[in-house]
Amino acid sequence: MYKKSAETLKTPKTSAIWLNFLGSMNLAITLLLALSVASIIGTVLQQNQPYTDYVIKFGPFWFEVFQQLGLYDVYSASWFLLILFFLVVSTSTCVYRNAPGMLREMREYRQSIQLETLQKMPNSVSWQLNRSLDEVQQVAQQILPHNGFSARTTVTDSFRLVAGMKGAGSRLGYVFTHVAIVLICIGGLIDGNAILKAREMLGQIVPETENIPANQVPMISRLGLDNLSFRGSVSVPEGSQSNVLFINYKEGYLVQGLPFSIEVKDFRIEHYASGQPKSFESDLLLHDSRLAEPLEQTISVNHPLIYDGYSIYQASFSDGGSSIELQVWPLSGGGNQQQKLNVTVGNDVQVNLAGQPWVLETSDFRLFNINPSQDPAKKFQNVGPSVQFKMRDKTGAAKEFMNYMLPIERAGAYYYLSGVRSSPAEEFRYLYIPMDEAGGLGRFNTFLRLLNDQDVLQKVVAKQGILDQPLPTKDSAQFNQAMLKLVALFMQEGIDGVMSQVDKNVPVEKREGVAQLYVRVLQQILGAVYVEVLADEGVDISLGIDEKKAAFFDDASAAIGAITRYGSPVYFQLVNFKHKQASGLQIAKAPGKLLVYPGCAMLILGVFLMFYAPQQRLWLRLQETEQEVSVVFAGHAERNGLDFADQFRQIQAQFERVLTT
């Protein structure tokens, strides 16, 4: 008997405890703060980077720990979703427990309030008036609405009560804000990737990690039209179309199908006069079998195309396979054979350069390069087109190059620039090849060729009188031989090679002198060869060399000295191109916003109602006492006590002016 009743008592108690716990303010505050802390982690630790970056950063042990904790994608980690889930539950419980009471109270005028309660209120005053009950009641019924209070009157045998209320909205504000939070969280969960994660856990999908064409991606990495919400991107070259998207997911990607196909007709970048980009635009054609004819629209940043619940955004741009014509200038081993090479951005070609097989991987072409300007009057300048490519040798090692089409000015002279780096993490280092007076690379090429030509060198060296006094013939021949070797060393290993040779063979105390001598000798020979080059061109040098040609010599010598560090046996000059761009589109489907947007509206409305329509109550209790009316006027406000006290005094003064004068 006893036991049974205990059990029946227990059941409601447990649920009450749960309800109490879930709806408690402590839990809510804890969740708010937990969410803050989790969010901080997500901003401090850069999210969704390649896993290898994390391994480098944290080492293998901590990498594993952090991965298990889901710290690389905090916002879709299960514990984060759990916090959000509890926030939704806690808020809902809170609304469930409080809203009915609040909504009731909104309509409630508290007409049954006791006299003592009124007298004890902080804002309370009483008068003895020589008036009739009706008169006072009438005044009260007008003064209260005049101050924005709606009033209800109760008449009993012993007393009359005029009860006023204002700011019922504040209670509504409470309901709105809390329901809004629930709506926004649920909407956000729908649009987030929680569902995708669940499907992955169930083994229904596996991200693809290989870089393969979309149509070769297996079914397990594909998402169909039934996928509720997603956000993916696709790069569509001008003149092409796509009916799939790519969604980056963990270490790989997923392919999302679309019920339509999107074609990019044209992509445009407009620039400001100063050179910075002004707008990115794509002319789109949307093909859908449900449409009589394709939908045509231009999108730009901030102006997406919305179609059938899908939003299509201009997100980025890239090269869509431009055709590039390259002129090949040999840099080592001499030879003046010049070939032209046609490549397409995104495609790899095999080429034979200086007797070795190379793979040329053209990765990007840019029509404009807006760089910081040297000119103080202008911030930026356009230095024209450039091509970016990798050259991979037979061992598989690659260097990356960036060559500008147009010569670039530096301190009055013009150069063809070629940047080189060994890894994307490095900055480009530039080779400055001086432009000749014809605007080309001809003179530099001839100079280089003659420097590799033994006959020319022999002739030049023989003519030189490097040392001040003449030498005996035998010594002279030896010395000439040494000079030729020096030149050859310079051509093969650059100025660095010459210097390390000095370091290796010469005692420390003599190094400086010898190095200076070597440099002088080299300068003299190079100068003499340069004179040959100019003579070849038919330049009259009987009156000496002008400043420009002298500067060219210095620049060319410096460039030749750096060739060994350049890392490619040839220089590819960008001579012609046919530009073709690709527009990076982002396509999103977010049905959750049907909850989120109304939620946002409710939140704003609710917050303003809560703060700026505070609930206030006033009561006038009238009682007849021997020819007089005894009046108790009292007021109560949930919040903003100081303001309300002020307001109460003002209304009190109104009553006093009307009733007591």
């Binding site: 997500g42 401090v44 400001y272 100063s274 901030n302 911030k379 977010a590 303003f608 703060f611 002016r657």
Partner: protein
Amino acid sequence: MTSIQAALKSELERDAFWKGLSLFDWLWSIITVLSTAYAYTNYAPLMDVYEKVILVASSASLIVLGWHWKAIRQLSLLVFVLSLFGISRYVNGLSDAETDFFLRFLVSSQSAIMWMSALYVLATVTYFAAFIARSDFVAKVASAMTWSATVMGLVGLMVRWRESYLIGLDVGHIPVSNLYEVFILFSIITALLYLFYERRYQTRVLGGFVLLVISAAVAFLLWYTFDRQAADIQPLVPALKSYWMKIHVPANFIGYGAFALAAMVAVAYLIRFNAEKGDSNSLAMTLPELDVLDDLMYKSIALGFAFFTLATILGALWAAEAWGGYWSWDPKETWALIVWLNYAAWLHMRLTKGWRGKPMAAWAIVGLFVTLFAFLGVNMFLSGLHSYGEL
């Protein structure tokens, strides 16, 4: 009619809002309406429908604001006249800023902003002098300086707006697009919020405390101007070219300004709180009563929270249009959420748990640091989509 009914009738008519409006109030509204109409008819082709709505709505809010806070009328008219004067001095293009006397020393955006900076710093010093000397007169001078600084700051922004169009029709934009411009906006909004409460609570002792934050902002602004040449007007990146900027950014800065105000009031609160036990004649006891400070702190956090909520939601809607999703967990977004959660927790503690006093004041100060990180720290230490104001 009995006497009581007559008295009631006169009482009911006495405080009618419309009756309280003076001739100047009406004149003010007419000027505002006429200038809005002028702007509308002249520049309608340059505006999209949202921008037209924003123009009309801000004009209406300005009228109502002027009715409720009378000083706004004088402020606006002064800004109006000075800005028009500044704009009219530009005849041959931007180079006039170097040659024209008035532009060079008073109303070009650069000069006006320098005036603003100098006046805010002076006002801070003067407020503190008034506080220490317990002088009402000096405090009034400080108020006047704060008002003047605010006028010059607003003139600076207005003229800068015009200057951006002088660079090129396609470059022109509202000056709330980078860190330099929003720092000016922040100073002005914080000052205005303070001035509002100064009148409301009839106390000038808090001036120095609040203006301390503004002076710090000015110090940053000057460093940013001279060390980084941040004052140059830059054209907008495509993502910022939207009407959303006109509402998202100001709403955000009402939030930031209000949070800054709350934190400085909290500092005053703590000082007074510690002084309560000691000498009742000490300087700290000239600060407003703890109740008043507490109330002011709550009010400004509530105001800040309301506008910050609005701003964050506007930001989300803008993101949905520009970045393809209303929420991307971008560091700036995330920190906005953290700020929001922090103040949401603060408000819950106060409103439902009834917390008051020292811990809440300390929390409000911590809140300012959280806000500061969201405002500046994110740009300095974290990278993301919001990289418009990189340091």
